[in-house]
Symmetry: C2
Subunit: 356 residues, 2 copies
């Protein structure tokens, strides 16, 4: 039987097993290296802002890109009210396909993978932007993304001390327990202002779909790196505008970030630096130890492409995937109708013909 | 165990079984009714031209839409060179999700389903545009779409005589055999000019990705309906421009059709009529028996939405689907990391916890 109909599929269960087989920190390091490699060849990708369908409750987005050989896209939602109903704020899945034929080559869960790639991207940015010898990170917003951020910063930058704050103390308790189990020194804090004390890196990862002020200007001292993860759609920001004006701002893809990121609060021509240029060596990252750097992260399709590409490399030689009967595969590609008719239980020899 | 992680999945095999359980002609009639109902409420949909990634070999497209309650999108490719390698020109899959939560509710193969919906849409248009008492249809281009077109026109308009032409005579022989087996009176022809003789409806469904002239002006007599299915991306057309100028042109979504359809050959302000308005009764279809009507079909996201919605209705009460482990479902939605860690084979009671 031809296998043209089969698309390799990585289920949630398969993804969790893959992460454990590799080890979560090694997975983050290797994923970060893949993202970094793809950022370095940024000009070779087709780039477009994601296609968003907004509703009162949230947003559903498609994020496509291609490097000319592989095409990838992610389906992802963002629904802040979901947790109140026992659902997740963000769920996702993604696909890779062969540009030359259009045939899918990988379908994968991406809820877990998105959490990993978002954290890995933040850590890659911090490698170039955070102050040298940073040892302590504040994490404001202790939901589903928080532990992944901490672990990526531990794996890539050696951060082992975190200061946590969330308006929901049970979220902080959950995050603290998870991170202590992974060897972190954790301080839980009663406010954002307390959390940022003594932190060289400040990560914000809250989920409200509204303008919020998680960080106000007086909390931000000279020399810190701000990793702003939560502001990622129109009307959703986390930082006071005054902080942005004092910062050197680094972004993924300006046409998308100007609409979705913290910089939607600024004029459309406010200077920003593209992260890929820093990674490629054509622009400067951190200049001095007084500078405030801000990674205004909204998530870009190339990061998902990198993540799918990494997963594909990992599973293809291990065979640790399921086979999905997703693509109709007639013996004669022009005879789709004949394939359908021969599969009829009423056709003479129908099922036998369909099984060849 | 919670079922939040599970997305109903209709594989190729499941789709073929569903078509046979319903019967292909009844499936086409019911699908056409669903498409017609959705065209009638056209203004209630979010509409955007599809997002296309073009390459030398073909195109990969994402086609999203939403009615505010359900969100749907289709992934579809178009690669004319594929058949030379034993692959299909068009393959597709699609997804429906719940706008209120962003959670997917159906993943389905759409290679077969796209062939069915394209044919059903053509037949719906012809109901309003073809001359009364049309009895004979020419089909130029006898590839994977041709039999579906014939069957939809039989099921909805009673067309039982077809005249076939393809530059590949083996494609014509395949199509003729398939249609004779379904009760059609088939005439195979040696040219497009011969095929259109005596036909009241002319369907063009060729696959070349280039400007072609499948029909020239002298072939088109007064009163015919042209169902132009094959021209569906920039640079790909089938009809001579002079035919367009003599025709009343009906389209799905003008911003997309002006880029992709036959009318890309005309000025951007050339008058066209939106099909949904004809169906909704706010615009006129066929006026008289001398008029040349042209349905410049390129395929629009709402038709795929209708098709997915129809399939969802059919499978949910029969349970004729597979369950796909696509969505990570932590007990505490903020604790995705904890779910991942508890699934570790090394975690104390890890697998037991993961199985709850």
């Amino acid at each position: 039987m031809s296998k043209l109909n089969v698309v390799p599929f990585v289920s949630v269960d398969r993804m969790m097993k893959l992460v454990h087989a590799i080890g979560v920190e090694r997975f983050l390091v290797e994923l970060a290296a893949t993202i970094e490699a793809d950022f370095r060849r940024w000009p070779s990708f087709d780039k477009t802002p994601r296609i968003a369908a907004h509703s009162v409750e949230g947003v559903i987005e498609l994020m496509p890109t291609s490097d000319g050989t592989l095409y990838g896209f992610k389906y992802v939602n963002g629904h802040p009210g979901n947790t109140g109903e026992g659902l997740q704020t963000v769920t996702a899945f993604g696909l890779l396909s062969d540009v030359a034929t259009g045939y899918p080559v990988l379908l994968s869960e991406m809820t877990i993978l998105t959490a990993l790639r978002t954290a890995a991207t933040s850590a890659v940015a911090a490698k170039y932007l955070a102050p040298r010898n940073a040892a302590c990170m504040a994490i404001i917003g202790n939901g589903a993304q928080s532990e992944f951020q901490a672990l990526a910063f531990k794996a890539l930058l050696g951060i082992e001390r975190v200061r946590l704050f969330d308006i929901d103390t049970t979220a902080t308790a959950k995050c603290a327990a998870n991170l202590r189990a992974r060897g972190f020194t954790v301080t839980t804090c009663e406010s954002s202002a307390v959390a940022v004390e003594g932190a060289q890196i400040i990560t914000t990862a809250t989920a409200d779909k509204q303008y919020a002020t998680i960080l106000s200007d007086n909390m931000i001292g000279a020399g810190v790196h701000i990793n702003a993860v939560g502001g990622d759609c129109p009307g959703k920001t986390e930082l006071h505008r005054d902080i942005l004006v004092r910062s050197d701002i680094f972004v993924e893809y300006p046409p998308q970030t100007r609409v979705e990121g913290e910089i939607q609060q600024l004029a459309g021509n406010h200077p920003v630096q593209e992260l890929w240029q820093v990674i490629a060596g054509s622009a400067e990252g951190r200049r001095d130890d007084r500078q405030i750097t801000l990674f205004d992260s909204v998530g870009f399709a190339i990061e998902d492409f990198s993540a799918l590409r990494y997963v594909q490399q990992q599973i293809l030689h291990t065979g640790a995937y399921d086979e999905l009967d997703l693509i109709a595969d007639p013996d004669d590609p022009r005879d789709l109708f004949g394939m359908l008719m021969r599969s009829s239980p009423l056709a003479a020899g129908g099922m036998a013909a369909a099984a060849t």
